[in-house]
Amino acid sequence: MSQKFSTACPLSATQQPHPAAHYRPSRTAQWAIVGLICGGLLSALPAAAQVKIGFITTLSTPAGYLGQDARDGFMLAIDEEKGRLGGVPVQLIVEDDKLQPAAGKQIAEKFLQSDKIRLFSGLIFSNVAAAVVPDLLAANAIFVSPNAAPSNFAGKGCHRNYFVASWQNDSLHAASGALAQSLGYKRMVLLAPNYQAGKDAINGFKTKYKGSVVEEIYTNLNSTDFAAEMARIRQLKPDAVYQFHPGGSGIAFIKQYSQAGLKATIPLVVPMPGLESRILGAVGEDAVGVIATSHWNGDFENPVSKAFVEGFRSKYNREPTPYAAQGYDAARLIGAALKATGGKVEDTEKFRAAMLKADAKLTRGNFRFGQNQHPVHDWYQVSAVKGSDGKLSLKTGVKVLTNEGDPYAQECKM
């Protein structure tokens, strides 16, 4: 039903997405809306053939804001060109995968079969990507990730039609390891939830951190009470702590770390997802002093980033997260390839050659694709600070890594 809704008129490409866009109205109501909106907009539509972009993303569940931001960043790039990317009219069709691999697969099938979409983006979570990406690639479609980048598609499993505009999972934690190393921490305690991504986080961190790891603590997945861990950290007296807990767990961890009085004596290092503007907003003053690493931050001085932040604020009335910047960058990279190929997505080899040039100005500045078509870019230290006006913000510090790819790139043979 909703695919007809989307194909009948380019609602999502021309309208600001409503926060509740994924709540499906009844059948009659849908057609009534389609009729009303198309009637009003048809005259204004460009005549050229549109390239459809399927955006399978996570909009619901507590992690839904990640997908919302990626989508809104992507939309902003389209809006800046008034419904085009790289001069080619595009139509963005967004669906919510609900963070369920099976739901993502269903949407992919529908997009491929019924909507004949050849170009995809949107995936946020590795587990959904693991289910959806093989289907897309088997159908010879192109996928440009605004976030998800698990290791299984980065090394031996790399693919000519698979691009990542965000960062490879391991490199996120490796960057934090490099920061901890450069800050001279000799003894560290590392914490992560007891599941694959948690173990990857700690292993990724250790690829660049060469000091001594006093203890690795694996917590229960989704736990929100860390009193026992705080007591252990106090007992172990490390130079610094690195922790990766996604979403609400991470918010709870930083609050409790500060409340336990540990933050004042033992620096806390986290990866980007542990400290972006939304997390900062939820943690508040307890976050001041926490150190992270990121490939992008809201205070970047380059003109693309400045314009993006301004555009995002004025359109959506909130601060963009790095996920929003990644969505925007993904759209920009796609735009460059569309421009070079005149919007011919069907010729995947030509499109790929154009994509690989990454001939686009991105919010993070320095960027190119490595041999596994994942980013080679820079990482920066980002700290939560309290301004003289009492406002909290994320401040970019030193550059931690330059032209950094990921550890899987060399395993990729294409």
Binding site: A20, P62, Y65, T224, A227, A231, V283
Partner: protein
């Protein structure tokens, strides 16, 4: 492990137990008195936390936030009882589970529409932001001590209400001799509404108190729901004394297995296997204890006596 650390971890366990009690008390009353299996109990907790966070952001007052959170959750509970739960008293547990599961989904989406999907900020009150030395060399967060104190006060008040007041007598009688209470002229429907409202109110208090420590976000209720059910099952369904004992058992076992058993296993086995085993064991420990309790005392540690389940299928 030093004795100080052991004491600190035990205090952590008590503190976790007291917060669990606030949730379990309502759940056990609702199930014990009304025979309603209420999966939406966690939603009341979330409503309380969101209302408290919103009020704290507007007024900056922690007291107003807690009172508002409790009131909002209580009112939401009354609404849910009036609109949905009231129709379920004579239905099977499966129907109750389905309907209250629906309430979870509804509440989550309603909160997302009202507040968005970003987690909300809930500040620690200024007067409890620091630490106190509970033992030489063991600083403890003031706010957690405050939460413990609040938990104890509420537990005592609730105990007084149940054992000393007329309403409490009716509730106790309702849990054990439902038909007789009705026959004696007590308005059972009103009693049920009150019990449901009180249960939701307690959830709201818990949500408001926990806000500054954890994350105020959609789905926060489901995270605590399972542990709350474990508490109720260990303690004995329908019994406040049982809920208190169960909460303490779960709080202390969960904390000590993370703090003591985990590191011991790691030291013993070592390597990645030790890490996984330590983490795995500490996460299943409370469930093992629950299974053990069910084997030894199938009705829980302090079961409510009487014909609690005899009404099913009226």
């Amino acid at each position: 492990m030093s004795i100080e650390l052991l004491i600190e971890q035990s205090v952590n366990g008590l503190q976790l137990g007291l917060t669990l009690y606030l949730l379990a008390a309502g759940l056990t009353l609702i199930f014990g008195v009304m025979g309603i299996l209420n999966l939406a109990h966690g939603s009341m907790y979330m409503v309380g936390a969101y209302a408290a966070a919103a009020i704290a952001a507007k007024t900056g007052s922690f007291v107003a936030a807690t009172a508002g959170g409790a009131a909002a959750a209580g009112l939401f509970g009354l609404l849910v009882e009036f609109v949905i739960v009231r129709r379920l008293y004579h239905r099977e547990h499966l129907d109750q589970v389905l309907a209250t599961f629906g309430v979870i989904l509804f509440t989550n989406e309603a909160i997302a529409m009202l507040f968005g999907r970003s987690p909300l900020f809930m500040p620690t009150p200024q007067w409890a932001a620091g630490q106190i030395e509970i033992f030489p060399g063991v600083p403890y967060p003031q706010y957690r001590i405050f939460v413990m104190a609040a938990g104890i006060v509420i537990a005592v008040l609730l105990w007084q209400l149940i054992t000393r007041s007329r309403l409490g007598m009716q509730i106790r009688a309702g849990a054990t001799h439902r038909d007789m209470v009705g026959a004696l002229g007590v308005n059972i429907a009103r009693l049920y509404t009150v019990v449901f409202g009180v249960g939701a109110l307690l959830c709201g208090v818990a949500g408001a108190l926990i806000g500054p420590v954890r994350s105020v976000q959609i789905g926060m209720g489901e995270d605590v729901l399972i542990l709350t059910f474990v508490v109720v099952v260990i303690g004995g369904i329908g019994s406040l004394k049982g809920a208190f004992a169960g909460a303490m058992v779960v709080g202390i076992i969960d904390t000590l297995s993370r703090a003591v058993a985990g590191p011991a296993i790691k030291a013993w086995i070592g390597g990645p296997t030790g890490d996984s085993l330590a983490a795995g064991l500490s996460s299943i420990m409370v469930y093992l204890v629950m299974a053990l309790v069910l084997v030894i005392r199938p009705t829980g540690l302090f079961p409510a006596t009487g014909n609690r389940v005899s009404h099913a299928g009226h």
